[in-house]
Amino acid sequence: MANMKDMIPAFDLVQPTTVEDAVDLMKDAGDEGWVLAGGLDTFDWFKDRIKRPRVVIDIGGIEEMRGFRDEAGGIEIGAMTTLTEVANHARVRSEFGVLATAAEHVATPQIRNQGTLGGNITQDTRCWYYRSGWPCYRAGGNVCYASAPLAMNREHCILGRSRCVAVNPSDTAPALIALDAKMVVQSPRRRLYDAEDYFIGPSVDITRMTVLEPGDLLTQVFVPAFWANSNFYFEKVRDRGSWDFQLVSVAAAFRMSGSTIEDARIAVNGVAPYPVRLDAVERLVRGEAASESLQNAAGELAIQGTRALRHNDYKIVMMRNLVRRAVRSVAA
C-alpha cells in the first residue's frame, strides 16, 4: 500500500523551456540524466528503485514540442503532444486515421491525457524480468531470464531476437511506420530518421529501444502527406478489452486504384524487440487485387523466419491472421 514511505528516491529536477536548454542540460547530465515526458514509463522505474538518475530533465514546459503544425508536405506533431490530442485532432482523424486509431488504443483515458506521442514510441520494453530489475542482458548483465527453460514468455518475441527476446510495446509506432513518418531528433545537431529506422533491435544495441543515445531528444514527428487519405487498417489484439499492451498489433496503409493495390505499407508490433515493417509483403501485394489467395499468401509470407519461444507460438498464428485481415480490408 502506498504511503509516504513510497517516496520516489531523490533527484535534481530541471525544467527547461526551450529545446536548446534541454539539450544542454542533457549533455551536462550525461549518463546520470533522465528525460521526463509524460512520466508513465518513468515513474514505474523510479518507484521500483530500478533506475535512479541524478538529474531529471522535465521537458513538459517546452512549448515548441507541443501541438500540431500544418505544413505543405504533411503535418508536424510535437513529441510532447498528448495521445488524446493526437486521437482527437481533426486533420489527423480525417487524413491519417490509422494514427488516431492507434493513439485511441493506448492504455486508459487518464494515460492518454498525460502520455505523449514521443513517449509512446520511445518507451522502454515491458518484459517483466527486465522491469523487475533482474540483471538481464538489456540491464547490463549476461543472461536472458525470459528465454530460460522455465521462463514465462507468453508476451515475448517471435522475430528479431538477439540474446534479448523482449518486444516493443508501442501502439503508435506501427501506425507511424505505415504512414512513413519521420522522427526529428535534436542533439544539438538536428537529424531526421525514417520511422522504421528510429527503432533498433538488440543486435544493434541491447540496452536501447531507439536510436536515441544520452543527449538525444526526439522533438517532433513529421507525417508526410503522401499517405494521407489512404485505406488504413489497424488492429490490436490484447488479453483485455482495455488497459493492456498488445499481444500483436498491425497497422497498414493501402493506396488503391480501383480494386488494385497500387502501393502499401504494413507494420506489425508485439512480435520483435522493434516494430517490424513487412516490406516483403508490401512487394507481394503491390499491383494485385486483394483476393483470398493474396490474403493468404501475404499472411504466410509475413511469418517467414518466425520462431516461437516455449509459450508464445500462438503469436505466429496471430501475426499471420492479422496481416491477412489487413489485406482483406481492401478486398473488393
Binding site: 514511505k5 517516496m7 535534481d12 513538459g60 483515458p109 487518464q110
Partner: protein
C-alpha cells in the same frame, strides 16, 4: 561551552560555505525529511538540491495554495499529506487503478504519476472541489452517485467520480458504451461496474437537464 566545541568540530570538517548550505537544506526539509527518506543523507552536497523543498503556488479547487514541495513529490502526496485533501486516494501508486484521479485543467489524470512541480500555473480539481463552495450543493455526478448508490466499499469512488466529471463535461450525451471506455482507466475491486455505469448514465442525464 559544549555548543562552542561542537561548532569547532564542524568547522574542521566543512568549509563555511558547505556548512551554511547544509544548515539551509536541513532547515528547509525538517518538516518532512524524517518520514520521507529511509536513509536520509541530508548534508551530502550531491543531494543538496534534491532534498530541498521549494515553495510553489498551486491552484487547487479554485483556491491559490502555497505549499513547500520536493522535486520528487507526486501530486497525490502533496494533496494528501501537505494540503490534507485526503479525498484523493492512493491505491496502486503505479498509474494502474485510477483511485488517485484528479482533474488538471479539467482533464482527468492520475495524480500518483505526475510531479507537483510539473503543475505550476495549472488548475487542479479534487473530489473536495466538486460541490458548490457557497451552497454546498452537490455536483451532478455526486448527486447521481447518491441517487444510484453505485459503490460498495467506495475506495475507488473519488477516482470514478472525477473521471465521470470529465466525461460528462466533454459529452453529456454519452452512451453507455462510450461511458465504459471513458471510465476504463478506473478499477473497482468490488466489481460494481454495472452500478457505476448506472451512475454515469444518471450523471449524464442530470448534466443534460441543468
Amino acid at each position: 561551552m559544549h555548543d562552542v566545541e561542537s561548532v569547532g568540530v564542524l568547522e574542521k570538517k566543512y568549509s563555511r560555505r558547505t556548512f551554511i548550505k547544509g544548515v539551509i537544506a536541513t532547515g528547509a526539509t525538517v518538516s518532512s525529511a524524517n518520514y520521507l527518506f529511509r536513509g536520509p543523507n541530508i548534508l551530502g552536497a550531491a543531494t543538496l538540491q534534491s532534498t530541498t523543498e521549494r515553495l510553489l503556488t498551486l491552484t487547487v479547487n479554485g483556491q491559490e495554495r502555497r505549499v513547500d514541495v520536493l522535486p520528487n513529490e507526486t501530486l497525490a502526496m502533496t494533496l494528501r499529506y501537505k494540503l490534507n485533501l485526503t479525498g484523493t486516494k492512493l491505491g496502486c501508486d503505479r498509474a494502474e487503478c485510477g483511485a488517485c484521479t484528479v482533474l488538471v485543467d479539467g482533464v482527468n489524470q492520475y495524480s500518483c504519476s505526475i510531479l507537483t512541480h510539473q503543475l505550476r500555473g495549472r488548475s487542479v480539481t479534487t473530489i473536495e472541489g466538486l460541490e458548490n463552495a457557497d451552497t454546498g450543493e452537490l455536483s451532478v455526478v455526486q448527486q447521481a452517485v447518491m441517487d444510484e448508490g453505485g459503490f460498495q466499499c467506495a475506495f475507488c469512488a473519488p477516482g470514478f467520480v472525477m473521471s465521470m466529471t470529465a466525461m460528462v463535461a466533454n459529452n453529456p450525451n454519452v452512451t453507455r458504451e462510450e461511458a465504459r471506455v471513458a471510465l476504463s482507466g478506473n478499477l473497482c475491486r468490488c466489481a460494481d461496474y454495472d452500478k457505476i455505469l448506472n451512475c454515469a448514465m444518471r450523471a449524464a442525464e442530470l448534466a443534460r437537464s441543468v
